[in-house]
């Protein structure tokens, strides 16, 4: 069976208007894919906004997949959350990225979005008290169905440094370069 290694790190986030940020991530792949080693989900440390308006996590990624088919190439899902001075957390951004199928080094900038406040009272409450709307069904992040009625606003970006190593793909006739 063909193997895929994803190495690298989640570098950090920029242009979020919050003091302290962290990120929960998970890898999503189709039924053909099996995780052999590595953590398919995790949480970064919480980073404080530095001088360059960016929070740094430098969180390592190392995951090993084996696969029987190409359907459902792994995706990385991110939930960026903020941690305020009272210790409260809420989600401030969602993002999803299909991982590159090209071996070698990739620097990926992932723009994030979050559900926006629908009513004026919600907006006022969020401005003064914090908090946000969250998704109940997180499938909507990686599956492009039923997005029409969702109101979102754009947030900052998350930066990834990814190295892809493939094994035995060409043996099975998969052409990727």
């Amino acid at each position: 069976m063909a193997e895929l290694h994803i190495l690298g790190n989640i570098h950090g986030a920029s242009n979020f208007k919050y003091q302290s940020l962290f990120c929960r991530y998970s890898f999503q792949a189709g039924p053909n894919w099996t995780v052999v080693s590595g953590l398919p989900e995790g949480q970064t440390v919480s980073g404080q906004l530095g001088s360059s308006q960016s929070a740094v996590w430098s969180h390592p990624l190392d995951i090993h997949y084996i696969t029987k088919g190409l359907q459902g190439w792994p995706k990385l899902l991110l939930h960026v959350s903020c941690l305020d001075s009272l210790g409260r957390t809420w989600t401030v951004g969602y993002s999803c990225c299909s991982l590159p199928a090209v071996p070698g080094y990739h620097e990926i900038e992932l723009p994030c979005w979050a559900p926006s406040a629908a009513t004026l009272t919600d907006r006022i409450r969020q401005y003064f008290l914090g908090g946000s709307h969250q998704l109940l069904q997180t499938d909507i992040i990686n599956i492009g169905l039923d997005r029409l009625k969702l109101k979102t606003e754009s947030r900052g970006t998350v930066k990834l440094h990814i190295d892809i190593v493939l094994r035995n793909f060409s043996q099975f006739g998969v052409e990727y370069k």
Binding site: H5, S51, V56, P103, F169
Partner: protein, 196 residues
């Protein structure tokens, strides 16, 4: 050796820890860096030093950077790419008044593709959990430290450690592999892709 008998691949990592840079200038008398390699269960070290400490350095005409030029050279052998070696750097400073104190931790993956790579990783340092601790850190110039910096490389059980980032450290590392492609691995970017 016939191709079918190849079970291990070798990876040689060599290069140097070039410099640390702090955008607001260096106010310490002496700065030094400790490095340590971390690798997965299938990996073994064939030769080289897996940890070390640099000289005591201070900035020159450029007040923002401290040059170490600390050489690093290692050969690993492995059967599996998973658990690729990472390097953990601890930057510390020594002062007359406050003694030895932490300036930050950095984590970097050694390059999994052949060739030279310049790696800049941010320095992270844990924040005190309480206001009093934060005030003490500010007064004494000593910051909370991790009991085991290797926990950064595992990427789990950080229990939402609060960190801040200040400055970064630049390395240039080159990787050479043997038998990696014979074992069916493909780690090289295609010719059409720019290296950036």
């Amino acid at each position: 050796m016939r191709d079918s008998e190849v079970t291990h691949f070798l990876v040689s990592i060599s290069g140097q820890i070039e410099f640390a840079s702090f955008p607001a200038g260096v106010f310490d008398e002496e700065v030094y860096v400790q490095y340590e390699f971390v690798w997965g269960p299938d990996w073994a070290v064939k030769s080289g030093l897996t940890s070390g400490v640099s000289q005591m350095a201070r900035p020159g005409s450029n007040p923002e950077t401290v040059v170490f030029n600390m050489p690093v050279e290692l050969v690993f052998s492995s059967t599996n790419v998973s658990g690729w070696p990472q390097i953990i750097l601890t930057v510390r400073a020594k002062n007359m008044m406050s003694g030895d104190s932490l300036r930050g931790y950095a984590l970097a993956l050694t390059p999994p593709t052949a060739g030279v790579r310049q790696i800049t990783s941010p320095l992270l340092r844990p924040r005190a959990a309480t206001m009093l601790g934060e005030w003490l850190a500010w007064v004494t110039g000593r910051y909370p430290e991790l009991a085991d910096p290797k926990m950064l490389a595992s990427g789990k059980d950080n229990y939402l450690l609060r960190t801040e980032s200040y400055g970064n450290i630049t390395m240039s590392l080159s990787m050479i592999s043997k038998d990696l492609r014979k074992l069916g691995y493909d780690n090289q970017p295609p010719a059409y892709k720019e290296s950036s």
